[in-house]
């Protein structure tokens, strides 16, 4: 599937973007030309040769802050997605196998989580549990988990009902065997799609929380935090929010592009795997099935 994925232009664009972001996340603090926490007398300066993106309200170099903020922004987003992944996928897969009581309960929990207004709940929980990035990430991760639950459950169900799983069950395979050898690899593409999407959502949500003053303690630079504080100085630097916005947007778009590409590639491989040899004899049938008869 990876090879199919790499053939897609959108995937390549997304991966290049993400690679750049990853490099920035790893090397950002090293690349930063100035100490991101060190203020100077030049406050709210515009872009110049010395400060490419200008300085902030206490005279810190914006470029340095954005670069230095990359690791935390990216890592916290990864953690959010990771928490959501673990909290959602495992119960999602197990819900298919652990009997109707567990299934019913987990479904209702997920329904409930979906019914809770996301940001209200995130704000409430983060505020009530103590204002910190860890709490914020756990809460957001938890609230994003239902997506993974649904996706992994749906994927698992379609595999679980498949005849090859039934064949394994008839041969006496345990649930663990079935999940390991049949389910996991089929669920993976859907999970990858969701993960890529969730990374994007996570970045936006963490930024939004930061905007509301929740999650990240100063002077720690994060993209959302930089953006939020820029908004307080619109009068002085109306263009300031553009830089962090573009970064967030690029990262989120890259994740979205990747998600779409994974979806396409998974579909492609699916078809490739099931139909490579029969393709020749079945070509007409597949064409007939996939084409849009509405315009004939």
């Amino acid at each position: 599937m990876i090879r199919t994925l790499l053939r897609l232009t959108s995937a390549r664009v997304a991966l290049v973007l993400l690679a750049i972001i990853a490099v920035v996340a790893v090397l950002g603090p090293v690349l930063a030309p100035y100490d991101p926490l060190k203020g100077s007398g030049r406050t709210l300066a515009g872009p110049s040769a010395k400060h490419w993106l200008g300085t902030d309200y206490i005279g810190r170099d914006v470029l340095s802050r954005i670069l230095a903020g990359a690791p935390l922004s990216i890592v916290s987003t990864l953690e959010v997605a990771g928490i959501a992944l673990v909290l959602g996928t495992i119960p999602g897969i197990l819900s298919v196998y652990l009997g109707s009581v567990v299934e019913w309960l987990s479904l209702r929990v997920v329904d409930t989580f979906i019914a809770l207004p996301f940001l209200v709940f995130a704000v409430a929980m983060t505020a009530l549990l103590g204002n910190g990035i860890t709490q914020a990430m756990i809460v957001v991760g938890m609230l994003l988990a239902p997506v993974f639950y649904r996706v992994s459950r749906a994927a698992t169900m379609s595999v679980a009902r498949s005849q090859y799983v039934e064949a394994a069950a008839i041969a006496g395979a345990s649930t663990a065997w079935i999940v390991r050898s049949h389910v996991w690899s089929k669920v993976l593409p859907s999970i990858a799609v969701t993960l890529a999407n969730t990374l994007g959502i996570g970045l936006v949500v963490i930024s939004s929380l930061t905007f509301l003053g929740i999650g990240i303690q100063p002077p720690t630079p994060t993209w959302g935090g930089i953006l939020a504080s820029d908004l307080g100085y619109l009068a002085q630097k109306p263009y300031a929010p553009v830089f962090p916005t573009l970064l967030i947007l690029a990262a989120v778009l890259a994740c979205n592009l990747l998600a779409d590409a994974i979806r396409d590639a998974a579909g492609e491989t699916g078809r490739a795997l099931t139909g490579a040899k029969t393709a020749r004899s079945n070509r007409t049938r597949r064409l007939a099935a996939s084409a849009d008869p509405s315009r004939s």
Binding site: L107, R108, V109, D111, T112, I114, A115, L116, P117, F118, L119, V120, F121, A122, V123, A124, M125, T126, A127, L128, L129, Q163, E166, G200, V204, S207, S208, F211, L212, G213, G224, L227, A228, L231, L234, P238, P241, T245, I248, L249, V252, L253, N256, A289, S290, A291, D292, P293, S294, S296
Partner: protein, 340 residues
């Protein structure tokens, strides 16, 4: 592979069954929906209450400020019944919630239900207008993209919806205000006037926040509708309808739309909580004192009953909205079996 055989009902029994069957089907689907929503309500309120309990907040510090001696704290907590076992508190609370009493704010001693009642018009107006915008533009864009499937308008719309769905809402809000309120000066940047003051002023105050709120919904509805319509067009029943000699317009409105709309409707149900949740940010930016602002302020102050109140009302709104969506879905596509 073990699907039960299709009913080979004997003719006479079938005749009698038609009417009863239809009523039975409606009752059964309603019961099924309730069986899903009642637990969601209970679990939602329980989680909400548990959250307040676990936060270890107490009205004492809000009310006493610098006079918070341990005795005074204990006295206040006793007054609020917080020294009772958790489940007893929850039971009592749930009981009064079911009677429409959401308790009183720790912060100002006012009825939470009353405060939310005063704010309902604002939040529901904003969410409602946003919903309408989301539906109208989502459907228009989705139908357009499906119609030009794989051609450039489709790609343009897809790109556009992707971009607007990933824009952080606060950026959208501030950007809209900057352009339309400050730049062009054609709309107010903040505030709310009730609809009694006139449809024009009401809408003029709501349109910007509603647009900001609707982006995400419009984008998702458009995407789902596009995919739904495209796959519906691939359905054999479309070929069937063509072969029967039905015209393209009729095929679209009667056959394709009806079957392609389900995912878009379903996503609408999922988006409603986001409309309420997005209010947290959008209301702050546009100076609307609705649920979102109330909730975030209450949360920041640690006013647990107020936070719980907002969450309960939101869960109820979401549940009711989803019920409606499901009823519509059941009518539109009677064959599908679904959860929330």
């Amino acid at each position: 592979m073990s699907a039960p055989p299709p009913a080979l009902t004997a003719p006479s029994a079938a005749r009698r069954g038609v009417a009863a069957h239809r009523i039975g089907r409606a009752v059964a689907s309603t019961a099924r929906l309730l069986a899903i929503f009642v637990p969601v309500f209970l679990l939602g309120t329980f989680l909400t209450y548990l959250l307040g309990h676990l936060s270890g907040r107490s009205p004492a510090y809000l009310q006493l400020g610098d006079a918070a001696s341990p005795q005074a704290v204990a006295a206040i907590e006793h007054k609020w019944g917080l020294d009772r076992p958790f489940l007893v508190q929850y039971g009592d609370w749930l009981g009064s919630v079911l009677h429409g009493d959401l308790g009183t704010s720790w912060y100002n001693g006012l009825s939470v239900a009353h405060a939310l009642g005063q704010r309902a018009a604002i939040t529901l107006s904003a969410a409602g207008v946003a919903l309408v915008l989301g539906i109208v533009f989502g459907f228009a864009l989705g139908a357009l993209a499906a119609h030009f499937h794989t051609r450039w308008p489709d790609r343009a719309i897809t790109t556009f919806t992707t971009v607007i769905s990933v824009l952080p809402p606060f950026i959208v809000g501030i950007g809209l205000a900057a352009v339309f309120a400050v730049g062009l000066q054609i709309l107010p940047a903040a505030g709310y006037v009730p609809i009694q003051a006139g449809l024009g002023p009401w809408l003029s105050h709501l349109i910007l926040p509603a647009i900001a709120l609707s982006f995400d919904t419009a984008a998702d509805v458009a995407r789902q509708l596009r995919n739904g319509l495209v796959s519906a067009y691939r359905g054999n029943y479309v070929t069937g309808a063509i072969v029967r000699g039905l015209g393209p317009r009729r095929i679209f409105f009667v056959h394709v739309l009806r079957n392609g709309i389900a995912p878009a409707l379903a996503v609408l149900g999922l988006k409603f909580p986001n409309l309420l949740g997005g209010a947290v940010i959008i209301e702050a930016i546009f100076g609307l004192s609705g649920y979102g602002v109330y909730a975030s302020q209450a949360a920041v102050r640690g006013d647990v009953p107020a936070v719980q109140g907002v969450l309960v009302v939101s869960v109820v709104l979401v549940v009711v909205f989803n019920l409606l969506v499901n009823i519509v879905l059941n009518r539109v596509t009677p064959d599908a079996d679904r959860g929330v």
